[in-house]
Every structure is written in structure tokens, then in C-alpha cells.
């Protein structure tokens, strides 16, 4: 499985997502919810997005997330990549992530 190229959503393999300084996290059992500080509502993350959220430290490249997820899950690589890109894209659109190149 190669991890080159530029996935949809403007992220590429070297992109390093980072939680914004105003992002807040709430954990209740298996559920992870996030919001921008000051917002009233929380965004509840699905399990994959919740796991990715922990990796968004600004030092972990998308390539590393793809590779680890492909190792961990019994699913086609393209499905895994699409799910990751979608999840990170949604978090970025919500103002919770910035993407470092």
C-alpha cells in the first residue's frame, strides 16, 4: 500500500493536524465529544474520529495515521484512508483542527 498522493480535502500525506488552542475535549466512557471553547453544543465523535483526535498533536503526519490504521484494522486501505480524511476534514471545518505542512 502506497501512501503517496494528495487525498481529497486538501490534506496530503505530510500534513500534520493539530488541535486548536480553543478546542475542548470531553470523555464519557467510550464517547469523545469536542467543541470550540465558548460554543454551547458538543460534537460527538465516532470511534475512529475519537482515536484520531488523540493523534492530532501537530507532530504526527497523516502518513503515520494511515499506516497505523491500516495495521490495526481489517479493512481495505482506500476505505481507511477515506474515513480518516473525512473525519479530519470535518474537524477542521468545525474549527477544531489546524493543518501544519
Amino acid at each position: 500500500m502506497t501512501t503517496t498522493g494528495r487525498p481529497a480535502g486538501g490534506l496530503d500525506d505530510d500534513s500534520r493536524p493539530r488541535r486548536t488552542a480553543t478546542a475542548e475535549t470531553r470523555r464519557e466512557g467510550d464517547l469523545v465529544s469536542v467543541r470550540v471553547r465558548g460554543e454551547r453544543s458538543w460534537h460527538q465523535l465516532n470511534p475512529t474520529a475519537g482515536a484520531l483526535w488523540e493523534l492530532c498533536d501537530g507532530a504526527t503526519a497523516l502518513r503515520e495515521m494511515f499506516t497505523a490504521a491500516e495495521e490495526a484494522f481489517d479493512a481495505p486501505p482506500e476505505v481507511i484512508r477515506a474515513e480518516i480524511v473525512t473525519a479530519l476534514g470535518d474537524l477542521r471545518s468545525a474549527g477544531l483542527l489546524v493543518i501544519l505542512d
Partner: protein, 218 residues
């Protein structure tokens, strides 16, 4: 269509009984055996391999997470769900590395356990959602560690690699000298160069780097 067959392996009869009831009633499984050791799992499998083995960590026989590899060696198509005693990340990672298809803990609720069984039987992997981030982090860190070790080992000359491999094999100066047909003083020089290039201060640490880099089979 016949129900998926399952072997349960756990040390505690009461837990096995509860799990049997839950899997048969809630997951539509047929539990063909419940046993208290890995050896007994393998004996049952010699008669008929099930679709799934639920294995608790800490069973007697081939220890803990290595049990998954014994099951896979006996029947590659049999799925394996490992039950840990707690949420120990290293145990979970070891379970996956030895062939488990899923991991959860004995502390999980029956509903979660049934969900895990259904997922693994469906051909998917299973990790409790709150452990998923830790698993991915571990896999990333391990890959980084290996890449760094490979980068260091790549600095070595062919001769220095040979010396390192022999060091890893437990050979002393004299033996390395004889094997490579070089003087003991040259061996010492090579070892010093190896330590410098690997940025370590002992032969033991050099051995660790060699294993991390995959220079030696684990």
C-alpha cells in the same frame, strides 16, 4: 444456515457459563466447548476447528497472548478474540501481533462482548473504542523507533554490521576475531565504531538497536 461455532477458554467456570449463555442467546453462536487451558483448546481444535476462539489472557499452557498464534497455527481461518484482564496496552498490542483479530477485557459488559464477537466473526477487527487511540499511538511510536534504528544501522560499514551481528549472537572478542579472520585489536576498533555510529554506550544497547532495526530476527 448453521450458527457460528465457538470455543471459550477462561480459567473461571462461572465466567465461562455466563459467556456461553450470552453468546448463544444474544449472538446466535453455538458454543462447542468451554475449557480452562490453551492445551485443551488445541485438543478440541484437532477434532473440529471452530469459527471463533475466545481466549482469556492468563490461561495455562502457551502463555497469554502467544496463545493466539497457537490457535492460528492450528487453523488459520479460525478467528480469535482475546480477553485481557485489564486495559493494559502492551498486552493488547502483543495480542494483535500474535494473530488476534480482536481484543477486549473481561471487565466489559456482556453487551460489549457480544458486539466484539459479532464484529470479529464478521471478519472485522475489534478494539474497545476508548483503547483505539492508544493502540494507534503505540503503532506509530514503534514504527518511528524502528525507522530511527534503521537509520543508525545504515551508518555502519559491511564489516561493522558483521561484527554487530556476531555481538548480538553473544560472541566475544576472540570468537569474532576468529570468525572474521581479523585481529582482536581490529575487533575492538570495529566495536568502538559501532557504538559511536549507533550513538550508544554499551554492547547491550547496540544489540537493542540491531533488533529494533530488524537486523536480527526477534
Amino acid at each position: 444456515m448453521s450458527p457460528p461455532t465457538v470455543i471459550l477458554a477462561d480459567e473461571e467456570p462461572l465466567f465461562r457459563s455466563a459467556l456461553r449463555v450470552a453468546l448463544e442467546a444474544e449472538a446466535g453462536c453455538q458454543v462447542v466447548a468451554d475449557v480452562d487451558s490453551v492445551d485443551k483448546v488445541l485438543q478440541c481444535m484437532a477434532v473440529q476447528a471452530p469459527d471463533l476462539v475466545v481466549l482469556s489472557i492468563g490461561l495455562t499452557g502457551p502463555g497469554g497472548s502467544a496463545a493466539a498464534s497457537s490457535v492460528k497455527a492450528a487453523a488459520a481461518h479460525t478467528r480469535v478474540l482475546v480477553l485481557g484482564r485489564d486495559e493494559d496496552r502492551s498486552v493488547m498490542v502483543a495480542a494483535f501481533e500474535t494473530g488476534a483479530d480482536g481484543f477486549t477485557t473481561r471487565a466489559s459488559g456482556l453487551d460489549d462482548l457480544v458486539q466484539a464477537v459479532a464484529s470479529v466473526l464478521g471478519g472485522h477487527s475489534w478494539v474497545p473504542p476508548h483503547l483505539l487511540g492508544g493502540l494507534l499511538r503505540h503503532l506509530i511510536d514503534r514504527r518511528r523507533q524502528r525507522a530511527e534504528a534503521e537509520e543508525r544501522v545504515a551508518r555502519l560499514s559491511r564489516r561493522e554490521r558483521e561484527v554487530l551481528v556476531l555481538l548480538c549472537g553473544g560472541h566475544n572478542h576472540e570468537e569474532i576475531s576468529q570468525r572474521l579472520v581479523i585481529s582482536p585489536q581490529t575487533v575492538r576498533t570495529h566495536i568502538q565504531n559501532v557504538l559511536t555510529k549507533l550513538e550508544v554506550h554499551s554492547r547491550l544497547a547496540a544489540t537493542v538497536v540491531a533488533y529494533e532495526a530488524g537486523l536480527m530476527a526477534a
